[in-house]
Symmetry: C2
DNA sequence: TGTACATCAGTGAACGCGCGTTCACTGATGTAC
DNA sequence: TGTACATCAGTGAACGCGCGTTCACTGATGTAC
């Protein structure tokens, strides 16, 4: 497995720079103190989750990946769940950031910005399966870890705010609440991401690109907001 | 934990009758041969998954629940994954059955039958979390276990056939393919079920009933199929 | 009806393994004076 | 600038545990004759 030294940061995320202690001159050796163990453990957890699913992560192996004794992680995390919860929290932050960036203030226009957000969600599921699994698959109870709920809400609120702007472009009569629109779009997007996109053993095949499927679905859904009346039976 | 004897069938599923060997006169004792070990192991797996998630299931504990030595399961399943795959397969069969029943041949009319199917999907996620987790959450690769893919397809085809019938009730011009409709509805339903319905530690709160959310979403989506033209910007 | 035999489901002991967590400890860091 | 000391991050050995899997076995079942 990749790279020199005992660490395996590889393509896990962007905090590679923090893996080697700045004080060791970049040689890869370190002294008694790791210097960045907390970050290193979070990176190791990501790598393990990506490789074996959220259940395949263990504190002992994360410590080994970080080149540290099995007792060391307990200086930074109360237990395995606390570490996983922190991974999930950071995942929500990254997702919120990605969605925010894709929405881009509603430019060039709310609809296409909205579609961009959907694509960003799928891209996140595809490119960050470890975060995605920690956020949605895992044994972590959202309520049990303070901050996690807030972080999750922050990500959803990006979607909700966008839905608010988008909804305002549609005729007012019979328009459903923006919150509901946001929930529908989230559910469809999340369903597509979970069933067809994330690189999991249980991923399903799809006779078209997931992006196209989502775009068509969102367009059809939103089209109804222009529709004059209720569906006819 | 419940009930007399060493077995814990409880409310796991309907095969309770098979737990006690018919040859022991219902006393709960059994001889050297279990008589229904395969079924008992599947039931035990369901119970364990329900209690601790798909990762919390182990062959040894399933054997213990079934009142049998840890080596016995290997007479019936090659390994733990084979057992889990069988659980998933049966889950798809049960889901297909539930959807078929809810669809009820499209009666009383395609739209309301379609809505009933959606509710049946949510009910399945709510009431059979163990099956649901084994089917969608797990480490089981659909392709690796013959029959599993077919079983999964069978369930989806119920939805697809229904979409076919439903689509035929809408104006033909600009109507998307029934397969696509089915995928959109599946994704939205699955998203709602996964995020808001299944009783998991990571379930989210919802400001309305999941059933109402889904019904509104499906109605809005289908409404667009009556709509005269593409969405206006 | 009885007997010999093949089949096969379950036994129980054993193996090596990795886990989570604890503990008293130790070595590095940084700060007060 | 130097020294004493508090703080704290990481050590390494140990614990008890449960796991998956194997093995030669044994007892029950059913079948041939």
């Amino acid at each position: 497995m990749g790279g020199p030294g005992k660490f395996h940061a590889r393509d896990v995320n962007c905090s590679y720079m923090s893996w080697s202690d700045p004080r060791d001159g970049g040689s890869g050796r370190r002294g008694y103190h790791h210097g960045n163990l907390r970050e290193a453990l979070l990176d190791a957890a990501l790598e393990l989750i990506a490789a074996k699913g959220p259940a395949g992560f263990t504190v002992a192996e994360a410590a080994r990946l970080a080149g540290v004794s099995p007792a060391a992680p307990y200086r930074h995390f109360r237990d395995a769940d606390a570490l996983l919860a922190e991974v999930a929290l950071r995942g929500f932050d990254r997702l919120a950031e990605a969605l925010q960036k894709a929405w881009n203030g509603g430019a060039p226009n709310p609809l296409s910005a909205f579609e961009d957000m959907g694509r960003a969600y799928l891209a996140f599921a595809r490119n960050e399966p470890a975060y995605y699994a920690a956020m949605f698959d895992s044994r972590i109870a959202t309520e049990a870890h303070p901050g996690l709920q807030a972080s999750s809400d922050r990500a959803f609120n990006v979607l909700r705010d966008a839905a608010e702007v988008l909804a305002a472009t549609f005729p007012k009569e019979r328009r459903p609440p923006a919150l509901m629109i946001a929930l529908h779009i989230w559910a469809m997007t999340h369903g597509i991401a979970s069933l067809f996109v994330r690189p999991d053993p249980s991923r399903r095949k799809l006779p078209m690109s997931a992006e196209d499927l989502l775009e068509a679905g969102v367009l059809l859904y939103l089209q109804s907001l222009n529709s004059p009346g209720p569906v006819q039976r």
